[in-house]
Symmetry: C2
Subunit: 269 residues, 2 copies
Amino acid sequence: MDANEDRPESVGRKVGEVASATGLTVRALHYYEEIGLLESSGRSAGGHRLYSSTDLARLYRIRSLQGLGLSLAEVGRALDDPAWHLGSLLTRHVADLDRRLVATTQLRGRLNHLLGSVETGRSPATEELLDVLEEMTMLDTNIQRRIGILVYADLERAHDHLVEVFGLGPGQLSRDEDGNVVHGEIEAGDGVLWLHPESETYGLASPHTLGAASACVAVIVDDVDAHHARAVEKGADIVYAPVDQPYGYREYSARDPEGQLWSFMKPLD
Amino acid sequence: MDANEDRPESVGRKVGEVASATGLTVRALHYYEEIGLLESSGRSAGGHRLYSSTDLARLYRIRSLQGLGLSLAEVGRALDDPAWHLGSLLTRHVADLDRRLVATTQLRGRLNHLLGSVETGRSPATEELLDVLEEMTMLDTNIQRRIGILVYADLERAHDHLVEVFGLGPGQLSRDEDGNVVHGEIEAGDGVLWLHPESETYGLASPHTLGAASACVAVIVDDVDAHHARAVEKGADIVYAPVDQPYGYREYSARDPEGQLWSFMKPLD
DNA sequence: TTGCTCCTCACGTCACGTGAGGTGGC
DNA sequence: TTGCTCCTCACGTCACGTGAGGTGGC
């Protein structure tokens, strides 16, 4: 019994509504029609596009696939040609992302080093930066990424806790032939953390076993208080609530079930 | 006494030579001229472009700045306008790279998760992938970066060892008013590692103090054997030499002066 | 009548790739 | 004469942004 029920608009959404609902622009929707990716299934008497719920469902899928990094041409093929192999495309796409990550990371490192080696508060001239840049071509580019490894007695419980309570991204758990988990991964923003079983051979044990920790993890989040609230709600063992630290971060701290110490923080302005 | 010495070509390089020497294409060099970024200082009788060594020096600078991620318009301004502030541009550029790194990493994580949750050897249909994708939209985007924190009794000695022996990038050491180092940083490829002093309050102590470690660090390098050779030469305490591990990495392991365990590894093909 | 949204062209973007059709030096 | 490189247009790319000039419904 919606008042709109029998108005002509109820048979479809106009382009502006669709645009603001999806975060696209009107021009983008025009363009999708132009390339045959998404046509509105009807028009009003005055020639205005009317998008049906079927059209909107298709648009939702377009946006999802686009979000995976596919080009509009690839999106179109994936949606319209059932034989088109999306899986292998995505696999290639992951490999491509990896290459770009390494390249971007190394570039970031070079830029940081460049700025760091000049910056003493003053503003370096272009000439000077170019000179430093030349010296830098000799730098060690061997080191690519760093991954923190945390030791746990029960990897699976740790993994689930980190996902459930701290909202980190689930990763694989690898098992040996007896079904014991021997390696775990957790996604955390710009990369991954590894979970490692206790090992007498290498002198590795969880903080619970040792009575203290020899390392911890800082996680940069967008909203410290929101993260804290969520963690509290999920039953986290909070060490201290969010505070503005003198070293320029808003931060709170919590322990996971085996005593590893986590800090969730965001730089202050 | 080069045979070319008095041939007209010796006053400049032709566009094809310049292109193959720099890895550019002829068309790219034409384009640089078109937008006023780099003109050949002369032409041959027949109208062929001749690039002088001054032109080549400029081209080298163009390529350097381009390699930092600047657009050609930015490169032109940096080279031609001495007042143009390259430093602040680069600072903004680093921030931009950071955002892209986070976005790309999160995308990679989503793709991996997507493929992992379907892949059992068979090839998933587009429909199925879209369904999995829909379930995944609930994932948290609050988390941005992760930083491993290692505990040491003597931060300065640890910092210097990591730079000297493992070839990691030097970072700042922060001191309190008594001159004690309270925080240290180390650059390692895609980001930074923090060094933290021992703390009874938070139950943090170095592996030497504890007799074991509750965490360790993996560093992905481009050439494991080269890194190992360098570390050995610098006197590293090697735990085991490079081996191909069954889990798909070539890897060696070493301990630093306070017993933190480091693995340097590279994925096998 | 005034605002707002809608419509259809149509040019611009960034750093070149890719021919098309023709000339100059070994 | 045959190859090779060089020359100058000029269109195409990818996913829209940005007007220009005009129409339709509340």
